[in-house]
């Protein structure tokens, strides 16, 4: 048998790794990829709960998360391209023109 | 023979099936290159290879030896991991999709039923599309890791073309799915057995999907040719005759892997076309039990051969599209046509099945 706590432990580990990468990395595309990692960890939690409650709604929600992540990735990468064209840098520390 | 547990026997049979399929695929790819060279040559009023073996039949063996023994040139400053990963990925993915393709009916030996299919997933068709989607990476990564302008642009163009035509590929199949009601490939073939009956009268047309989904078939086959980067959609590859494609900086065995993966993709796509639209292994079956088991496999291979011959025939005949014409064709013509096909099929299916 596969206990639910093991599935959730994997989900939380991936989420914390993604969150750590989101905070520590400087390249904006890598930061975006850590966001996708966090979304996947949440998907895993949804599917784990769907299995243990015998309910398909969790899988439906994971499906919508995947679709919304696709839309978000498209728009986010377009923003990154526009940003690169204006700033010529992919480092988030260079996006500080609103600093005092 | 020692007594195996049930799982052990299943594992052994599956391993044997995998070995047979991989061996047959490798031989088929090798002799597909021979067939292509001969057919294209005869279309162009010349002989193909004829020196090595009778009518050039040992030419693939000679080519294989050449590839193995050639010097392996690796440019400096390539991204080593990605550079070596790309051809292996291409070949692995090309062979992975054969795992769900059914070649014939099942037969019984000693009370065990063995089917001519490595595994029958109930999302088998989606599995093939998943593997095709991952195949885009091998091209893009090959182009990028070569650290050179022309492979990068060739790789990006080729992968953009592949992902554009994958959409139409998926849409073309939806009509077939609505009629078969299942994503399992064996289920789709089973839904095409028998003959078409109109108002109770038996026309002697086989119950194949080509007769009710002609537009779907055309969209599917066109998108498949574009997805496998074959003529007339092979500008990213034809550039290699001029300047460079994504496999410029690859030599000997790695280039051979790209080459093999292209032919393996051709075979996979033709297998799918037979299964989805031409009834898979259905054909006249007669005779003793051994013949009844082997004849469906023969019919499947015969239909597969017809598709591959058609691919090669087109290579010898058609000029290639320019890149912007190619992309416009995929997005502005094929995709709307696929959508219209889905719309029309769904109306007809709903009308027929309504009480």
């Amino acid at each position: 048998m596969l206990p639910l706590s093991h599935v959730l432990a994997l989900s939380v580990t991936l989420f914390v790794i993604g969150a750590a990468g989101f905070v520590f990395r400087k390249n904006i595309i890598t930061v975006f990829m850590c966001i996708e990692l966090m979304l996947n960890a949440v998907n895993l939690a949804f599917i784990g709960f769907s299995r243990y409650l015998g309910n398909l709604d969790g899988q439906l929600f994971a499906f919508f998360v995947i679709v919304v992540a696709a839309a978000e990735a498209a728009v986010g990468l377009a923003i990154i391209i526009a940003l690169y064209r204006n700033r010529d840098s992919l480092n988030i520390e260079d996006l500080d023109s609103m600093k005092l | 023979m020692a007594t195996f547990s049930d799982t052990g026997l299943l594992l052994l049979i599956t391993l044997i099936k995998i070995a047979v399929v991989v061996f047959v695929m490798l031989t088929a790819i090798a002799y597909l290159t021979w067939l292509e060279r001969k057919v294209v040559a005869h279309i162009q009023s010349r002989w193909g290879p004829y020196l090595v073996g009778y009518s050039g039949l040992m030419q693939p063996v000679a080519d294989g030896l050449k590839f193995i023994l050639k010097e392996d040139i690796v440019p400096l400053e390539v991204d080593t991991i990605v550079y070596w990963l790309a051809p292996f990925l291409a070949l692995t993915l090309a062979f992975l999709s054969i795992a769900v393709i059914p070649f014939g009916e099942s037969f019984t030996i000693h009370g065990r039923t063995i089917s001519f299919q490595i595994t029958d997933l109930n999302v088998g068709l989606l599995f093939v599309f998943a593997v095709t989607s991952l195949g885009v990476y091998s091209v893009a990564l090959a182009g990028w890791s070569s650290n050179s302008k022309y492979p990068l642009l060739g790789g990006l163009r080729s992968s953009a073309q592949m992902i554009s035509y994958e959409l139409s590929l998926g849409l073309a199949v939806v009509g077939v799915l609505m009629m078969a009601g299942t994503l399992s490939l064996r289920g789709i073939v089973d839904s095409q057995s028998g003959f078409w009956h109109i108002a109770g009268v038996n026309t002697f047309l086989p119950h194949w999907n080509i007769f009710v989904q002609p537009v779907g078939f055309l969209v599917y086959f066109t998108a498949a040719i574009a997805d496998t980067n074959r003529v007339p959609f092979d500008l990213p590859e034809g550039e290699s005759e001029l300047v460079g494609g994504y496999h410029t900086e690859y030599s000997s065995m790695k280039f051979a892997m790209f080459f093999m993966s292209e032919y393996a993709n051709m075979i996979t796509v033709s297998c799918l076309a037979t299964i989805l639209f031409f009834g898979g292994w259905h054909g006249p079956v007669f005779g003793p039990y051994v013949l009844r088991v082997l004849l469906p496999v023969f019919w499947f291979c015969f239909k597969l051969f017809c598709f591959l011959f058609f691919y090669i025939w087109m290579r010898g005949t058609l000029p290639r599209f320019r890149y912007d014409q190619l992309m416009a064709f995929g997005w502005k013509f094929l995709l709307p046509l696929g959508l219209l096909n889905v719309l029309a099929t769904s109306f007809v299916v709903a009308w027929i099945s309504s009480p």
Binding site: M1, M33, I47, R51, L56 | V82, A130
Partner: protein, 171 residues
């Protein structure tokens, strides 16, 4: 004949879970964005296998087709077009880096402890296996969840328009 997942294939969960964790660490730790993208693809594919083991066969294949096969292709294209190279070292304080890793580890341990307390290993049994094939998901999607389905189609249309406008060269 389908093999019952609980019997022989549970060790596969641990194997692919470990692979996912190692690949996730690689996403965060690699210097070049292309290597991070490749590691993220490995994470997505191993998570797809885990979904299969949890009985979500349709979602597993959709994850590979959409997430690993389309979204990550978009990422890889953008990385290649913008020619993203190695990351330059940070200008920020070193103390943040030395303090950060232990804090992350402490946070992870705390949440794992909370899960272990809340869902003890012996007490949870999976409910009866529900058929999660495409037909069942389609039934739910087009009956109970038809409104989110239609709204996501509008969402995707808006995303296409937004991405096309944002990435244009000149206005």
């Amino acid at each position: 004949m389908p093999v019952r997942i609980e019997t022989n294939l549970v060790p596969l969960f641990y194997i692919f879970g470990a692979l996912a964790v190692v690949a996730a660490l690689s996403v965060v730790a690699q210097r070049m964005p292309v290597h991070s993208a490749l590691s993220l693809i490995v994470v997505l594919c191993s998570l797809a296998v885990v979904y299969l083991l949890l009985g979500a066969e349709f979602i597993a294949v959709i994850q590979v087709i959409v997430y690993a096969g389309a979204i990550m292709v978009l990422f890889v294209f953008v990385i290649m077009l913008l020619n993203a190279g190695r990351e330059t070292p940070s200008h920020r304080s070193r103390m943040a880096r030395w303090l950060g890793a232990p804090l992350v580890a402490a946070f992870l341990l705390e949440v794992l402890l909370a899960i272990w307390k809340q869902f003890p290993a012996g007490a949870s049994h999976p409910a009866a296996a529900v058929d999660a094939g495409p037909a069942a998901i389609g039934h739910l999607l087009f009956r109970n969840y038809v409104l989110p389905f239609e709204v996501t189609s509008i969402l995707i249309l808006v995303a296409i328009l937004g991405a096309a406008v944002l990435a244009k060269k000149e206005f």
